[in-house]
């Protein structure tokens, strides 16, 4: 297990490097939220989810919804690393003609099942997937990564209510709680605390973790699978911009990309020499 965690950590480090390089190239996109979510996305794709990059629409796959769609770079670098599409495609992020749109688009990107980016909508889609899979008697699971700022959207709570109502225990929401949104601290813009208490009140199982501790992420994902009768929320405390001190905990880095001066230092932080 220790070795597996170390492997995932190394994988996540490489994905961070890829996020930084991709965003430096595109000069448009969301750095902070991609770096805060990447450890969880990495654990999902390389540890937990059943999926097949050779056959993106394989019927037996688990489903993934990036509800905080602006963290698309985190998803794209992960899908590329899995082999869903060539890594060179990443250099075309947000360019005209690229399948890698600013926010996830199921029409063009292999491995993306739904369109997200307008915040607050992903949990509903995940809900629908979970209901449909259960209806077919399938054991596949549905994972949704949500932002904490996104929890300000009312639709999230409509979805939370519905998922508990339908006892969708094949659904797991991971809350990337980095505490920051565009206008500043989530607690100051519109306080969403306590996230755990809210999901508990809505009838969900709740697991609290450090969203950058790979051991805790893996353990929580494994545990969530065993929890029955209700969906599970993994409330993960994270750091926006995690891994690169230049970007860490800075709301100003929400929609800003690394510039030429920052790139070498960012890569150095991530233990990257090339």
């Amino acid at each position: 297990m220790k070795e597996k965690i170390a492997d995932l950590e190394e994988k996540a480090r490489r994905l961070r490097v890829s996020i930084v390089k991709t965003l430096h190239k595109s000069q448009s996109g969301h750095t902070g939220g991609s770096l805060s979510a990447i450890d969880m996305v990495c654990a999902l794709y390389f540890h937990k989810m059943r999926h097949n990059p050779e056959e993106p629409s394989w019927d037996g796959r688990d489903r993934f919804v990036l509800s905080k769609g602006h963290a698309a770079p985190a998803l794209y670098v992960t899908l590329a690393e899995c082999g869903y599409f060539p890594a060179e495609d990443l250099m075309m992020l947000r360019r005209l003609g690229s399948h890698l749109q600013g926010h996830p688009d199921s029409k063009g990107t292999p491995g993306v099942d739904v369109c997200t980016g307008s915040l607050g909508q992903g949990l509903s889609m995940a809900n629908g997937m979970a209901l449909g899979l259960k209806l077919d008697g399938k054991e596949n699971r549905v994972y949704a990564v949500l932002g904490d700022g996104e929890l300000q959207e009312g639709q999230i709570w409509e979805a939370a209510m519905a998922a508990a109502h339908y006892k969708s225990d094949n659904l797991c929401a991971l809350i990337d709680s980095n505490g920051l949104q565009i206008d500043g601290e989530v607690s100051k813009v519109m306080n969403v605390a306590s996230i755990s208490d809210k999901f508990k009140a809505f009838g969900w199982h709740v697991i609290e973790i450090d969203g950058h501790d790979m051991g805790q992420i893996v353990k929580a994902l494994d545990e969530a699978e065993t929890l029955k009768g209700a969906p599970t929320a993994i409330v993960a405390k994270t750091v926006k911009g995690k891994g690169v001190h230049l970007f860490e905990n800075k709301a100003s880095y929400h929609g800003v990309t690394p510039n030429d001066e920052e790139l070498p230092e960012a890569l150095r932080c991530l233990g990257c020499c090339d």
Binding site: C115, G117, S124, G128, A130, G132, G154, Q155, M161
Partner: protein
Amino acid sequence: MIATRDAYGEALAELGGENDKIVALDADLSGSTKTGVFAKKFPTRFFNMGIAEANMVGTAAGLASVGKIPFLSTFAIFAAGRGWEQIRQAVAYPKANVKIVATHGGITVGEDGGSHQSVEDIAIMRAIPNMTVIVPADGEETKGAIRAAAAYKGPVYVRLGRNKVANVFPAGHKFEIGKGCTVVEGTDLTFITTGLMTAQAVIAAEKLKAEGISARVVHIGTIKPLDKELVIQAAQETGAIVTAEEHSVIGGLGGAVAEVLAEECPTIMKRVGVHDRFGTSGKSDELLKYFGLNAETLIEEAREIVSRKK
């Protein structure tokens, strides 16, 4: 006579027996929208989402992404209005195979008043790329439209009404998405109509005949994609167009026809509908009269436009 929503309930329940991929969702109005008929027959494939339309739309998109054919229903004002951005993002943008069947469209909602009378839904649905917009004239066409919507792969918005409406089409009428239908032949002008206004146009055409005015009636069951050829042909052959719909004259059928004719075949035209105002409480038949959505208005407009031709 049958309400289009009743025809929907029947058709959906029937389709449910033929295709187990069909599921239905409602937002606490299943008795009124008639998804309740389906729910009774297929309880495990029916999802009441409570009074939460935004989540209902997203859930339907999720169901579609795992291979289901979701039909979601509520009143038009809530389906198209409350759910607009969800429909745009989660349904139309990914081209999800979701069918939005909105009942209680237009002013014939009646007593509930302006808050509940959707006079903008056709316009705002029509503006969304990838969206197909259908407004049947009667029960028979509704059955065909629901069947066609289920067979079509992609987002569809079907707008239905609350009240019983006169039959325009015979039993077994074949509905084809994107195809309009000449209901009455005529040479002096054409009524291009949708929904319950088609039956009124047929009455108007009959009465106008006695005055020596030959009115054609073209029913447009699919507002988008619009049957441009049929519209242009009517304009070329009759030289005057009167559109009619139980909807705002802005952006609906009248708007769509005006766009086509302005570009392809400029023709004198009039738009009968709700003129940039909200609805109000009253009995349905009173309201139709109050807003001029009847054969009498169509006759007046026909006389006026034919006189302008000379």
